[in-house]
């Protein structure tokens, strides 16, 4: 837009004498880039106050001094992201004292991300709970010092809690789940991954509380079994979108049948390592979730055969990611089904390490999965690099075929899809 007429500076009024904060705020809202807003704030003290008060979200890696300054400047924050990197973190990182500063400064805080802030303890959580009842989203994954004491304090004060991530907090027990069940009825997403002390009793108690759970991650909670999952599934029903039970080896057909009876909106299911699951329940699931299922991880479900997998592959039209690693009874027949029904699958990621198909199966995949981005065939007894190369299979150019290595791409994909 062309600038309006230039006016000689001496006779132009000072904008601050004419406009009120309200109008200056509206002008600020038209600036999008952080750089522009920063410049706005550096013009004069009044503009700084307007800019600082308008900020709602902040990501920072800050020591205690800087945190105090930021608390003083940005009074209107509702979202604070302080997560540290899991491997390298500056010592001492976020402390309970820092949480004290945050708790007293930001009364309307809704989102607090403290992932990997290994320095915080129950005292910090108690302070947060006491001063910030409006918290809706709390991520304290891998804050290893936390116990039930700190987190039950949060649950009793923060009744609007929707999203809680305590994965990696290995000291957490069923006590927390009882507290959540009584206090946090709005809970939608809960991650207890690697909280190995959790048992059936806790999850059963949880199912009496919040009735609209969308995401539940119980990966590596090796004590839990079908009874409690069936209860949760029966209580949250169509709300359930994502369920992760990685390495929960006691889980069996009862859970999968319950899902097929109650959860038509299930998109993401992780049952890797649930060795007891058989074809029968998988077929039922494929029927119910034919439109909804997008990502299915079932590596090491060693009882599964082509019978069960054919249902999945042919009925679940929107499947984009599938992990059948070490399902060694699976053969070409599964993928031949795609050719039989002439179905162009939307599959983007296929992890099939240690599976019994041959290069013919791989060939069919290349023809009927034109959107494939990554295929993992490591340790497949009948598919080697040599066999693959001589068979002249054409995957889309951007597709990566993994015969034997490159773990980093691998991990990134696991996180993204499963």
């Amino acid at each position: 837009m062309a600038e309006s007429t230039e006016f000689p500076p001496q006779s132009a009024p000072c904008i601050n004498d004419v406009l009120t904060d309200d109008e200056l705020c509206t002008i600020l809202s038209k600036l999008r880039a952080q750089e522009e807003k920063d410049s706005f704030g550096l013009v004069c003290k009044r503009w700084l106050q307007i800019e600082s008060a308008s900020r709602r979200r902040i990501h920072c890696r800050a020591g205690p001094d800087m945190l105090r300054r930021l608390a003083g400047r940005f009074s209107g924050l509702t979202e604070i992201y302080l997560s540290q990197s899991p491997s390298r973190s500056f010592y001492p990182g976020v402390t309970d004292a820092d949480l004290g500063v945050i708790a007293s400064a930001f009364r309307q805080l809704r989102i607090l991300d403290l992932a990997n802030c290994k320095g915080i303890s129950d005292n910090g959580m108690i302070t947060v709970g006491h001063h910030l009842p409006s918290i809706e989203y709390l991520d304290v994954s891998n804050c290893k010092k936390l116990t039930d004491k700190g987190l039950t304090a949060i649950s009793s004060e923060c009744k609007n809690l929707k999203n809680l991530d305590v994965s990696g907090c290995k000291l957490i027990t069923d006590t927390l789940l009882h507290a959540l069940s009584q206090n946090c009825l709005q809970l939608e997403e809960l991650s207890l991954s690697s909280c190995t002390k959790i048992t059936d009793s806790g999850i059963c108690a949880l199912s009496d509380g919040p009735k609209h759970i969308k995401t539940l991650d119980l990966s590596k909670c090796t004590n839990i079994g079908d009874t409690c999952i069936v209860k949760i599934v029966n209580s949250s029903r169509e709300s359930l979108v994502c369920l992760k039970l990685l390495d929960c080896s006691k889980i069996g057909d009862a859970t999968i049948f319950a899902l097929s009876e109650n959860c038509p909106n299930l998109e993401n299911l992780v049952i890797g390592g649930c060795r007891e699951i058989t074809d029968l329940s998988l077929q039922a699931l494929a029927n119910t979730c034919s439109e909804s299922l997008r990502c299915l991880r079932m590596d090491w479900c060693v009882k599964i055969t082509d019978f069960g997998l054919i249902s999945i592959i042919s009925k679940c039209k929107n499947l984009i990611a599938l992990d059948i690693g070490s399902c060694d009874k699976v053969t070409d027949a599964t993928f031949r089904e795609l050719a039989n029904i002439e179905f162009m699958s939307k599959l983007r990621v296929l992890r099939a390490s240690n599976v019994s198909f041959t290069v013919n199966g791989v060939h069919i995949i290349s023809e009927f999965c034109r959107e494939i981005e990554y295929i993992d065939v490591r340790s497949c007894p009948n598919v080697s690099r040599f066999v693959y190369d001589t068979a002249d299979i054409r995957f889309p150019l951007s597709c990566r075929v993994n015969f034997g290595g490159v773990l980093s791409l691998h991990d990134a994909l696991i996180d993204m899809y499963f």
């Binding site: 009024p13 601050n16 309200d22 600020l28 038209k30 920063d38 410049s39 004069c44 800050a62 800087m66």
Partner: protein, 153 residues
């Protein structure tokens, strides 16, 4: 559209403007007054001079027309661009009037115009443009810059 009745607006310096009700209702403030039956023969607009009020009315008239004729985005933008070619004083007064009278389109247009004068400039350039005195000490300014480095959206 049935011809509505006329509304009279009276500026702070006493001048009266007779306009159609549909045009007057572009201002949410006046709209509420009409709907709440508070509108008498003549509505006073005490904060706005005749010069500015006539500009606001011009904007509202044109945009009511646009709602009927449905011009292209280009035609609309072109008219708005010409309309807003005013001196800085007038621009500020239009912002105040648009805010007071709650004419959303005009408020957006005027504030965007000012925002465009800010974009791409460093703080000193912005101060010059709007005649603002720098009330930061060099230390204060350095502190703010440091904070901006550590805290991002």
């Amino acid at each position: 559209m049935a011809p509505g009745k006329n509304i009279t607006l009276k500026s702070s310096d006493g001048e009266e403007f007779a306009i159609e009700e549909t045009v007057a209702m572009e201002s949410q403030t006046i709209r509420h007054m009409i709907e709440d039956d508070c509108a008498e023969s003549s509505i006073p607009v005490p904060n706005v001079t005749a010069k500015i009020l006539s500009k606001v009315i011009e904007y509202c008239k044109k945009h009511v027309e646009f709602a009927a004729t449905k011009p292209t985005d280009e035609e609309l933008k072109s008219w708005d661009t010409e309309f807003i070619k005013v001196d800085l004083n007038t621009l500020y007064d239009l912002i105040l009037a648009a805010n007071y009278l709650n004419v959303k389109g005009l408020l957006d247009l005027t504030c965007e115009t000012v925002a465009n004068m800010i974009k791409g400039k460093n703080p000193e350039e912005i101060r010059k443009r709007f005649n603002i005195k720098n009330d930061f000490t060099p230390e204060e300014e350095a502190d703010i810059r440091r904070e901006n480095q550590w805290a991002f959206e």
